[in-house]
């Protein structure tokens, strides 16, 4: 397997010295170029799992291997896209996209050329000189996407990337990410709590349950692309996911009674 997550648990020590288990023995195997959605209510550890794959944090027990190598630290091969974009407000669009290229020690001219190419890919060529706060949320997320893609990572880790966008922009961005995923051949792990988003994007949807975070089920989405959000097949899968998802939420809310 390309990414193997083997019996990964993560516990945090709270202020009163007690341990909080956020992830409990998670097993997950991901193929190269697969589009995986991690779906679950807040507190199910999906963002924690993403951080572990990114290498921002290490598992308490278990291992995460990518292409055979154990993840111990962040790498430019796996870029995280954050919900609040993580753009540097003092740099304009093109300088933001060049950020990762600077670390790769490329010549200035080459950097500029690559940055322009990816800015064009996300459709922001008219906004190269703008600073992030001058752009809308959707545009800022495009900049973050261009910045991530410019360093040619093998894996994109997206942490509720469209969570702060309005519904229309959100759908538009979903189309975009699907197009880019097909064009650039990336492995994408995409955290969301939006069922429709997961059904639209994912090859497989990993449904997680909270306290402690576990993988409940994995649902395959065998629909051809580009998916029609209103087709019967789409709605059927959405319904199936909803039932599973709802079960896990109900269990969370009422389970303790």
């Amino acid at each position: 397997m390309y990414i193997s997550i083997e019996k990964v648990s993560k516990a945090f020590t709270l202020k009163d010295k007690s341990a909080l288990t956020v992830l409990d023995k998670v097993d997950l195997y991901i193929k190269e170029w697969e589009f995986i959605c991690l779906l679950g209510p807040s507190g199910c550890g999906k963002s924690t799992l993403l951080n572990l794959i990114a290498g921002f944090d290490t598992p308490s027990t278990g291992t995460i291997k990518i292409d055979g190598d154990t993840v111990t630290q962040p790498s430019i091969d796996r870029i995280v896209i954050f919900q609040n974009y993580g753009l540097l407000p003092w740099r304009n669009v093109i300088k933001n996209v060049e950020l990762g290229l600077e670390a790769k020690k490329l010549k200035r001219k080459k950097r500029r050329q690559i940055a322009e190419e990816y800015i064009q890919l996300v459709g922001l060529s008219d906004y190269k000189k703008h600073h992030p706060p001058q752009l809308s949320g959707g545009m800022q997320q495009r900049v973050a996407l261009a910045r991530a893609l410019a360093v040619e990572p093998k894996i994109l880790l997206m942490d509720e990337p469209f969570g702060a966008l309005d519904a229309m922009t959100r759908m538009h961005m979903q189309d975009e990410i699907e197009r880019i995923w097909q064009e650039k051949k990336k492995t994408i792990i995409f955290v969301t709590h939006d069922i429709e988003e997961a059904v639209f994007l994912a090859d497989r949807i990993v449904i997680m349950t909270p306290s402690p975070g576990r993988v409940k089920t994995i649902i395959e989405v065998p629909l051809p692309r580009k998916r029609d959000r209103t087709s019967l097949d789409f709605l059927k899968i959405k319904d199936k996911v909803f039932t599973e998802f709802n079960g896990s939420v109900n269990n969370f809310v009422y389970g303790s009674f």
């Binding site: 962040p74 995280v80 993580g86 540097l88 950020l99 990762g100 670390a103 706060p133 001058q134």
Partner: protein
């Protein structure tokens, strides 16, 4: 329209102030040396400008100010970056800083004279002390308040020290540092005059002491007004710089959503 009203307000405010002053002088029958009339002071100002005294003293003061302030800025920012980044070291140093900070720079004067003699240096040292603490403290807190997302992004793209400091931490903390520089400028200007009153043979502070010694209270007030005006001009200049930084950082210009 708004601008004209603003200017009118400033003019009428100043005119009213001068009118009350003149009224007090006219009705009070004070000794002219205790409270000179506005006209006398204006004449005194003219005298100082014409015979070149003002510009000579102003130049001396300004060069001391720039030297002391630049030293404060350079050491304050560099130490602040180091101390803000090393939490443990800062926790160790902070008590001493907090103890020294409320001490008026003038209190150091006996030692300053013992260590550095008289001339330009004591005034410069006093300006340095006055400007150093606000710069240091705002830099430390600016660095400590850097959004962790920026550090994660840098880490993800493989940006290591010293690039991390210059590309991420310094610019992220800069709006706060600029605010500290503004405060430091005001404080330093206040203590410039104080420093020149106790230890110098030239400068705007000395001009006041010298005028007192020759019983020219009109020149004392003229000196005070000049100090006020130049302090105000310096303050406006750094405000312009701050505004420029805010625009560059995209903090203040029109956001679109």
């Amino acid at each position: 329209m708004g601008k004209i009203v603003k200017v009118l307000k400033v003019i009428s405010s100043l005119a009213l102030f001068v009118a009350i002053w003149e009224l007090i002088v006219l009705t009070g029958r004070y000794e002219p040396s205790l409270l000179p009339s506005p006209v006398k002071v204006l004449e005194g100002m003219g005298e100082l400008v014409k015979d070149g005294t003002l510009i000579t003293h102003f130049k001396v003061s300004l060069s001391r100010f720039i030297t002391g302030y630049a030293m404060a800025v350079i050491t304050g920012i560099s130490l602040g970056l180091v101390l803000g980044y090393n939490k443990k070291v800062w926790e160790f140093v902070e008590p001493v800083v907090q103890l020294l900070r409320p001490v008026s720079p003038i209190a150091w004067f006996p030692f300053i004279v013992l260590w550095f003699g008289i001339g330009d240096v004591p005034a410069i040292i006093i300006i340095f002390i006055a400007g150093f603490f606000p710069t240091l403290l705002s830099t430390v807190s600016g660095v400590r308040k850097v959004d962790p997302v920026y550090l994660n992004v840098a880490n993800n793209f493989g940006i290591r020290q010293p690039h991390l400091l210059f590309k991420i931490i310094l610019p992220a903390a800069f709006p706060m540092i600029a605010n500290g520089l503004h405060i430091a400028l005001g404080t330093a200007w206040v203590f410039l005059v104080a420093g020149e009153m106790v230890g110098a043979q030239s400068g705007l502070g000395y001009l006041i002491i010298d005028s007192r010694n020759s019983l020219r209270s009109d020149l004392v007030l003229a000196g005070i007004i000049f100090i006020g005006i130049s302090g105000l001009v310096l303050d406006r200049l750094i405000k312009l710089l701050e505004g420029y930084i805010e625009r560059q950082w995209g903090v203040s210009d029109g956001r679109r959503n």
